[in-house]
Amino acid sequence: MRNEIRRLREEAGLSQAALAEALAVSRQTVNSLENGRYDPSLPLAFAVARYFHTTIEEIFHDDV
């Protein structure tokens, strides 16, 4: 699943560590999310969307 987390994070001027701390996950988890290796749970997806004041649909895109 593709996502816009890296773009949103960079636009917000945040490091992976800072975003990870804000979302209460590890830096490795943020890195995996950005690289599309790990698909988040629904609660984490909502937390990411809430953090960037947007919706899940705006951040995560189905590959098909």
Binding site: S32, P40, A47, Y51
Partner: protein, 148 residues
């Protein structure tokens, strides 16, 4: 879509308290002690000593890993898991790794049964199965933490 002023969430990672960790270690040491006593009473002093040393070593390794993770900050999923600060990806990795261990256990037991039927020493086969499962767990943790 707006990206200005990202808001911070209030969730904090949970950590296992020292009390819970020490209780777990104490319970493990009691279990090891009971194992030692059982083997000793059964007239197997060498096996008893092996169980005692092996069990105590595992508890000591767990304590050292936790201590190091606390001092240097848990940068690895295993350290975070041991500290009780695992996030959902760490838990997914652990769950998937344990699933691999479960699958390997079925296969290893089948091979072990066949080996015993063909005349292999039972205790050696059990020890080999334990070693295989440990290797599978470590390999799965390392592989999955790179892939996920």
């Amino acid at each position: 879509m707006t990206t200005s002023e990202p808001q911070r969430t209030t969730r904090q990672p949970r950590t296992v308290s020292d009390r819970r960790f020490f209780l777990s270690c104490a319970a493990a040491l009691v279990a090891v002690g009971l194992l030692w006593l059982t083997f000793t009473l059964a007239g197997e002093p060498d096996t008893a000593a092996g169980a005692l040393v092996g069990g105590a070593l595992v508890v000591a390794v767990a304590a050292v890993v936790r201590w190091r993770a606390r001092r240097r900050g848990a940068d690895g999923g295993f350290g975070r898991t041991l500290l009780g600060a695992a996030d959902e990806r760490d838990k997914a990795i652990l769950t998937a790794s344990l699933a691999w261990v479960g699958l390997a256990a079925f296969l290893a037991n089948a091979v072990g049964l066949a080996a015993v039927a063909l005349g292999a020493d039972g205790s050696t086969v059990i020890g080999a199965i334990e070693a295989v499962l440990l290797v599978v767990l470590v390999a799965a943790l390392l592989t999955l933490s790179r892939r996920l």
